[in-house]
Symmetry: C2
């Protein structure tokens, strides 16, 4: 079904835009995107999704179908719709780079533009940063649990739609996942793609051994799926194939996809080793997540790589974040909200990461213009509606950045176990003073 | 990032396709899509997403960028790639209509085509049916809990990507949700769109009352958001506005978005009623789900409608289903899998819903060709790669079908509490005989 990208927004944004237009409210509105609290299973979040936000802002236009649709709703004036025809995003964006670990209340993105512009894009900016940050943060845990073994994304079939399938592969790459099974993601992002074979291929042959033989003939260094009928019997058929093929046998591995993966991996390893096939690796899949991977490896399962699908693909233990995109300044004045449980930090901000011996010790959220100690995490990535150099980062550079930044976190934070104590995030004295002064104004 | 729709598949599908091509395996493969078990918080699933599957199958082509990308991978032969140039989906599809309640192990879709065709589309078919069934099933619970009050989808910002945002609005419509805030979904599907105002609009004005006045001037029958600073003080400002405007006051409602919604709704209702404004309704939002809605209403909260976002938008309590797409027949012979915990029912199947006094009593999963009592749920929706009349259902018809079908479920199934006993699904004697005969063959 066709739709106009500019309409990827909530109706109230457009009704508010018309109100701003009617009231001649054209001053700069600064919106800050942050996560109010971390899910209890996350020691940090890995910021991701910025590139898609910047690409959207650069190309945002109301096309004729969008204007015609809005006109059909009968609540927008001809003058306002004419104004939308010329709508462009002309503002600035400050953001932490993709792959940066972030914590509760820290701005990931601040959007500064005439308020109609920074207001309209709320849903899209949140949607993309939320999705990719949810998924990169989950994948970072899976990668950590795998301890250097390859992790392959198998999740397309149960992710939430096509866009999620593509963006997940992207976010997983940033988080250190080795490859994806999603061919379109390979095409779109130049990612490494990988795959083995499905049960259906084995089932379609009358004999499992015949299926192995035919597949290995076509793909000599393939990974054979051995659990369709009886896993260890399947492994023995791989051994038979090796004897049959002799030096022409180059099968890279076997895949286990069900049952007691630890016991089966031990059994498979033993059969392969006894047959003189130590180079045939064991690849495991089937409902895996970081906790199960950690348990398998702690129990000594001789597994060389993991295919991870649904749990990582929907971030099942924490499929959403309490992410917010809030007005913090309008017309040069800090703005607050006093709603219960939904306080926000006013004004343009910066996050300073204070390190000790190369390891992150704590963060300070301060005013953007403060000269505080520590490494400032927010960079200007867009000015006047165009990307700055800091907004032009390749996906591989984001992956390298994520690795470097995670390597600078203390081990208790990188762990998949809850960090005790959690990371410390402080507010600068100047920011607290601004906040309190503003609260006093509002409460008068 | 551009991608080719035909590549929305896992790499192994394409390597298997090349193997089928090399082995001249062109017989019909029948794949059955079903959910192995229901999440414990779901008494039934509401099948959804079929229309997107059929549209995909009708238009599936390998475009030149897709072929060039596959060629660049260096693992596909020129002959195979030439074969893909002419690839079309030419098969049949049987499916339950969108909006049909279904249970564990019941086929939602069966795809029958030369095996390359039915194999390739696995990921897309699963992805779309999974997403929309997850979301429609969740939304059906929210609609049930709201007991006839309007439910509006506010979830775009935290759904998993753009496709999910659009498809969710579609699935929610099928499930009985009143409207969506997503403007692009309104454009794409002709859905009713709705919205109120955001905190940012209030914040951007120096005075909350001024913001209300300006917005109500432009949109006389709007809903005003009253919780930015102090909820009941906000309601009193609405009353002041009513006094000021007199007969020109047409504000339809107030929205509460934070705090103790029950207490605030009672307080707001009292203030409005005492001011002679009984027609101003109360609309609640802010982290709601079916359980909270049920609790609010059970506690007598005078709330007239609900905006529901993230919890419904990602189906937070059950963001994924154990959905499978499995080969059940190839070359006219039933196919099995014996993997632990992943058994499947062989052959082409039908689901018969047996009703008593117009209420569903139990289902029987049987062979497609069995003349069993009960209403057959699977219909042929595609033949020869083109839709049959049963595959051409409007979204409003699907919504009506969903309502009619849910009305025929026993009340314990429609309830958001776990059904005791759960619904009964039996296997027909003929299907069990087929299954056992096949198991004996496989286990020989």
């Amino acid at each position: 079904m066709p739709f106009s990208p500019a309409l990827l927004t909530d109706l109230y944004e457009l009704t508010m835009l018309q109100a701003y237009f009617a009231e001649h409210m054209t001053d700069v509105g600064v919106f800050s995107l942050f996560v109010r609290r971390l899910p209890k299973q996350r020691n940090y979040l890995l910021a991701c999704g910025l590139d898609d936000v910047l690409a959207f802002l650069e190309t945002l236009r109301f096309d004729q179908p969008a204007l015609a649709y809005l006109d059909s709703l009968g609540q927008f004036s001809a003058a306002f719709l004419r104004d939308l025809e010329d709508f462009r995003f002309t503002g600035s964006v400050w953001a932490v780079l993709e792959g940066t670990p972030v914590f509760a209340n820290e701005p990931l993105v601040e959007v500064e533009a005439p308020i109609a512009e920074s207001q309209l894009v709320e849903a899209f900016v949140m949607n993309q940063i939320h999705l990719q940050t949810v998924l990169a943060s989950k994948a970072a845990r899976v990668v950590e649990a795998a301890g250097g073994r390859q992790v392959v994304d198998f999740g397309l079939r149960r992710m939430h739609g096509i866009d999620a399938g593509l963006k997940a592969a992207r976010a997983f790459h940033v988080a250190g996942v080795h490859a994806t099974s999603n061919v379109a993601a390979g095409q779109a992002y130049g990612l490494k793609i990988a795959g083995t074979m499905a049960h259906s291929y084995i089932q379609a042959h009358d004999d499992e051994g015949d299926a192995f033989r035919a597949f290995a003939h076509l793909y000599p260094d393939t990974v054979l799926l051995v659990d369709t009928y009886d896993t260890l019997a399947g492994v023995r058929k791989v051994v038979e194939l090796a004897r049959e093929l002799g030096p022409a046998f180059h099968v890279a591995g076997v895949r286990l996809d069900s049952g007691d993966l630890r016991a089966l991996a031990v059994g498979a390893r033993q059969i392969l080793d006894e047959a003189g096939l130590p180079s045939v690796t064991i690849f495991a899949s089937g409902g895996l997540n970081e906790d199960e991977i950690a348990q398998l490896l702690a129990a000594g399962a001789p597994i060389d790589g993991f295919g991870v699908g649904t749990d990582m693909g929907v971030s099942r233990d924490a499929p959403s974040l309490d992410i917010a995109y809030k007005l913090v300044e309008y017309a040069g004045r800090g703005r607050l909200k006093l709603s219960t449980g939904k306080a926000l930090l006013p004004g343009r901000k910066q996050v300073f990461r204070v390190e000790r011996d190369g390891v992150a010790d704590h963060d300070v959220i301060g005013r953007r213009d403060e000269p505080l100690p520590g490494r400032p995490l927010l960079r200007q990535v867009m000015a006047g509606g165009r990307r700055c150099p800091a907004g032009q980062v390749t996906l591989d550079a984001a992956r390298a950045h994520a690795k470097a930044e995670r390597d600078r976190l203390p081990p208790r934070l990188r762990s998949i176990e809850p960090a005790v104590p959690p990371y410390t995030v402080e507010l600068s004295a100047a920011l607290v003073r601004d906040w309190e002064a503003l609260r006093r104004q509002y409460e008068r």
